[in-house]
């Protein structure tokens, strides 16, 4: 079976999209991934722009390349207390 990139969302992104989706990308940058998600789910475009991307619990810059074996997480602005 063809592997697909797993993308996890939190907070309002999970609310608007789903806690997790899978996409076949064939490899792409975080920036490409942001564009694709914003295109598929226009309602989250603004929130996605303010969200951090993480791969393996580390912040991933927009230029970072990911493969379909990766798990990418998008974290909207956080607030505790």
């Amino acid at each position: 079976m063809e592997m697909e990139l797993r993308i996890r969302f939190y907070g309002r992104l999970a609310d608007a999209i789903a806690p997790e989706i899978e996409l076949a990308t064939g490899g792409c940058s975080i920036s490409d991934l942001r564009s694709r998600i914003a295109s598929d789910y226009p309602v989250v475009e603004a929130t996605l722009g303010r969200s951090r991307a993480c791969v393996g619990d580390s912040i991933a810059g927009d230029e970072q390349q990911v493969s379909d074996a990766d798990v990418v997480e998008f974290l909207p602005p956080v607030s505790g207390g």
Partner: protein, 152 residues
Amino acid sequence: MSVVALLEPQALDPQLELAELTEAARGDGAIVTFVGLARPESKQGNAVDALVLDHHPALTRQSLQDIAVACAERFDVSHVRLVHRCGTVPAREPIVFAGAASLHRRSAFDAINYLMDRLKTEAVFWKREVGDAGSAWVEPTEADFADRDRWG
């Protein structure tokens, strides 16, 4: 020096947390604590039944630990104890306990001020208020960011 940072999925009892901190602070002269409560009303004036705190399986605990350790290293305190709820917190119930013990009061006051300012903008939680009007996400305000930035 000790630093305790806990993520609590069940009810948080501030008196128990204070007792733990007091036990640890035997040689100190001051304990300062802050207890945050889930507000029963939103900023828009809608009734809030509960606050729901989503968290990340790894990064949330790490953020609590990092903030508590930075607090302990920055101020002249002997003990820092931070307990933060996750999950559903009914209105009026405690959401966070932050306590610091020190030889003299000023550093414990400053430590808790710092801890809470960083928690508001950096602790990895996503909060939404749930009530009759539905569900609304809550994010840090400009004032929250300004409060954090004053620590440099």
